[in-house]
Assembly symmetry: C2
Homo-oligomer: 712 residues x 2
Amino acid sequence: MNPVASPVISLSTLLNPRSVAIIGASDDPARIGGRPIDAMRKLGYAGRILPVNPNRREVQGLPAYASVADLPEVPDVAVVAVPAAQVLDTVTALGERGTRAAILFSAGFAEIGGDGVTRQAELLAAARRSGLRLLGPNALGLINVRTGFVGSFASSISLGPIQAGHVGIVSQSGAYGGHLVMAAQSAGVGLSSIVMTGNEADITLGEVVQLMVDDPHTRVIALYSEGINDGNGLVAALQAARRARKPVVMMKVGRSEVGGAAARSHTASIAGDDAVIDAVLAELGVVRARSTEEMLDIVRLATRGIYPSDNTLGVITVSGGAGVIASDAAEDLGLPMPEMPASTQARLLKLLPICSPRNPVDTTAQIVNDLSLIEPFAEAMVGEGGYRSVLGFFTYAGATPAVAPSLREQLARVRERYPDRLYVLVLQGPRDVLNTYEEAGFTVFEDPTRAVVALAAMGRFGHAFAQPETTPLPAAQPVALPTQTPSEAEAKAMLDAAGIPAVPERACAVAEAAVIAARELGFPVVMKILSPDILHKSEIGGVLLDVRNEAAVRGGFATLMQRARDAAPDARIDGVLVARQVSGGVECIMGIKQDPAFGPIAMFGLGGVFVEVLRDVVFHRCPFGEDVAERMIRSIQSAPLLLGARGRPVADIPALAQALSRLSIFAAAAGPRLQAVDVNPVFAMPAGQGAFAADAVIDVTPPQSSSGDLAS
Amino acid sequence: MNPVASPVISLSTLLNPRSVAIIGASDDPARIGGRPIDAMRKLGYAGRILPVNPNRREVQGLPAYASVADLPEVPDVAVVAVPAAQVLDTVTALGERGTRAAILFSAGFAEIGGDGVTRQAELLAAARRSGLRLLGPNALGLINVRTGFVGSFASSISLGPIQAGHVGIVSQSGAYGGHLVMAAQSAGVGLSSIVMTGNEADITLGEVVQLMVDDPHTRVIALYSEGINDGNGLVAALQAARRARKPVVMMKVGRSEVGGAAARSHTASIAGDDAVIDAVLAELGVVRARSTEEMLDIVRLATRGIYPSDNTLGVITVSGGAGVIASDAAEDLGLPMPEMPASTQARLLKLLPICSPRNPVDTTAQIVNDLSLIEPFAEAMVGEGGYRSVLGFFTYAGATPAVAPSLREQLARVRERYPDRLYVLVLQGPRDVLNTYEEAGFTVFEDPTRAVVALAAMGRFGHAFAQPETTPLPAAQPVALPTQTPSEAEAKAMLDAAGIPAVPERACAVAEAAVIAARELGFPVVMKILSPDILHKSEIGGVLLDVRNEAAVRGGFATLMQRARDAAPDARIDGVLVARQVSGGVECIMGIKQDPAFGPIAMFGLGGVFVEVLRDVVFHRCPFGEDVAERMIRSIQSAPLLLGARGRPVADIPALAQALSRLSIFAAAAGPRLQAVDVNPVFAMPAGQGAFAADAVIDVTPPQSSSGDLAS
């Protein structure tokens, strides 16, 4: 994205500076240039604060300096709160002094368009010359909750100290970042650091995520995004988070956005940005939250640090209804709720004949009348049921003075014996009573459905953390893209060379060649006009099916040439393609879309109405192996049609998966000039008989001069 | 459901008794027989409390009576808290005294199965003899929050008074009902009455909903159900609620349940109970909540009493991100967010050049710095934007002392000028500050997504309330069901008579008749074995397509007869059906399933993989008109295949809708012996050419002696 490569320096200084200069420092703690100083002093920031103000000797009781040049030391970080017109000079001066990072509050850059874009580019160029890294401009900045370092003018910091904890917040929006911080406070979620990235002229979302991955105080990352600028950087950071076993919960808003304009291919028109984001996040084990509240529920439970790779849910409840609600939610989320062992069920029925011991284990309110039952029931669920996640529904009864102390102690003893399980309680009652449960290691929810959503997310993290590094891929063949969009025959030849087999066919320039080709391929054949300029052949009548003899081939050749000349007089026409007519296969579609953030994205679905009307397709970032391809194929809703539903033959899934994987490897090797690929249809033949591309379109952009491509 | 008809007396006494006897009254306020007395005295119940206890002269300071017979007056209502074995005698005694309703706390009846079922039936019979109505047994009972009448032993009543308001809670579960009450308290939702129905031996969920409809203090109804016993009663009560403009929010748990066992028809096997519930609730304008929290969010906003029939959403926000989040949620829920008028946008841009005035209207945090902008912006949105629902996102800034008073006053002035709109604010802050907004008429949420979900629900209520009473249906022909499952030809003849046209066809007992029929119908024809005992003909090879000449008809006749004899030697075989082979139509399926709660339910979908694999179908209670049928047809995901997608011909939707409506009228007229109908396929021909049933199965149960059918 950036015209000059970013310097490879550690960004950790940004979160942990020993000294900070405030350029445009104000004596008024309510003003933008005053807020950080006021906040840092209140929060006990231990580093040196160096106000810069040409008009004052002292700012908020601290000695002030007239300019960056006058500073008595090189500050690790500078906070820049001067008008837009002065930012460039300030950045230049900071760079010359050797400051490592600047946080730019100032607005009036790329976010206003026009001149602002130019000003931002100049800013970045100046910073790159000296190796200065920039957060912003137009950034609300960052807060290190643990050290009291405040490089932010968020008004929320004036509302008092933020509860410290292990959740890092990364937000592209300043205003929503502030809301998130306050919502986290209200939900009892302790924070480590908060970074709001603004315009991302230099430091991107991915780099900030990496900062959180490297920060030992951050164990869980909450990510709010409105648009991805540097997809590859974000992917690398999210992969690092997964390796570090730090769960990431993301809100990516703007779901209604759709993909690129006037798309020439099916794949590009169907692959909206949001579907691509979903696919990428699922691949990387990031849980996408549907609301702020859901994000906070999940990060709050995630701070327990328990991520079962084989999650199961056991529910113990004083209300059968609550058990059913939890079961409904678990089923929706694919969280298994296996039954208790039969012998344990029998034993529990002896203890309490009116209980339902299967799972949910419904003790009825009787357990509240006979508190001695709690520990045996809980022990049975955890020890013998073996659930990785346990949800206890005790509602207001569990928060009454008569019940709470005993319930808490008995559950705590079970938790001590099985500390590797997730324990969630659904309770209603005064905050201070609920807090005693939280302190004893139980995460408390007031709503059973929200509790199950959070528990299910822990299993998704655990599953992602347990995934082996991706399987090795076959080495990519070098791909030499033509300078312009190739014809169908050329496209299929390129794909065939890359391991995506085509239906046997011949390109024929004259009618007699077509007759010979048809004879060799065997009747019936399919005939199609062959032109790089006609992408949607069927729309001009350019495809003839079921051509059954030599006379029909001759007639067909003439018909197709005439139709092409009538419909597209300027098109280059290379002749006619004669192909074996495949029968007995299932029509599928495979495609590639070049995503502006994440590079080539592969799509798979069944052809025809399944893709056109039902949009029953699946996406994945390229490249990927046959294992991933097979999971994609099996994940679509219409997959049963490939797997033998209602007496159909089972399709050759391995061949289909191989072709899909090879297509992804081809796309990754082809580079950004590959705009889109449609392989449509691909015939998935019955098991053992392969998968064959019957048509293909490859859409490329012409090569550009390489002057703009200096960046790595 | 009940063997004897329930007496037609008003149940309002149950909620508002002038006197209540407590049978099994206890002096200990913590015991089940003591709790109601203690609670009523604390809450100031103004009626007479009459404890009955054979062993005490006084109970909790009140004079006690030895038996029901000894009571000094006939109590309006009795609360029965005696062991199961004594309940029958108590009910009999109460009936003899002329008490109108009894609330039975006692457990040990149908919920334990076996003997309990018999005991419950005896109880009901005794009550019916005297006209006594029963709530329960095994019921946690009811609470009238406004009068302090407590006919319940819920432990939550010991936790202090319940906040009074206008939401009535109806719950089948006692324990979850108690949780709901506490969750409502915590969410600030005031309650009118709470009724927990228990076993529903007599008074059903529907009757309690009707009670709430009739109760002037209840304006909004929250309904929690685990299983519907009396579907028709519930439907009638929900229709009454709609007429009374009282919104109903329902949680129906147990979504994973599936429909009847070993279903003989597609329709019955696909129509799970949950899909039927969804269809019925949508028809009646009931909003189904996915969680307790969502239910409480919706009822809380509903107490404002504003239900726009043409809901639109305008969002004013200090954060662009929050605007996008709200837009995402609105799009998911189908809540329109039209743009602001262009002239208004231009004016707002002059007021605040950095704003985004389209909708969401993003004022940026600037509006918090210049508070004078609030009223002009809000006025512009409500007055000129004309939105029925307005969401203001002001987060923690809106709750700060510097902002809150001014923001609240300016918004209140706008609300005064436009009192018919829904106003929701998203704020973060201390409860007492948020309450000042609530008191000023603004409903406060902390999460923007939850706010939009609640706003969208108000529009669904408004839409339902504005629906005209259902259009008149054509008079149903009387339906004389055969005593056993008819053959295909008989089934199609019955349906044809009911207005569902069949493909032209002839039943032929001998081969030569088949030849004549084929000649008359025109080649090609379809031939099918004709037997009432073979429901799935294609599974035994009993269908021949594309029979093109007379010789093939003769051969086909012999083949089919042989296959039928081989596959089903005991089947009655009536010959072969010869039908015109229809081409050019879209294969659809229509069906009927007899639902145990709601009677006949119609299904519509496209045939083949769309129904078998994708389950892309829609349901509706019978009977219904062609308008409803057309909406059903257009609502399925694959509807574009009927509506001309990708160059296909548009199907004859009016003919299809007519057939579907007629099928629903037929099913309603046929009565409960009609188990299922599959009309599969129905060919939807191109516009103007009709819709024809090509196959049909009607599944009936044999008539029973009428002795058990005395009830109305």
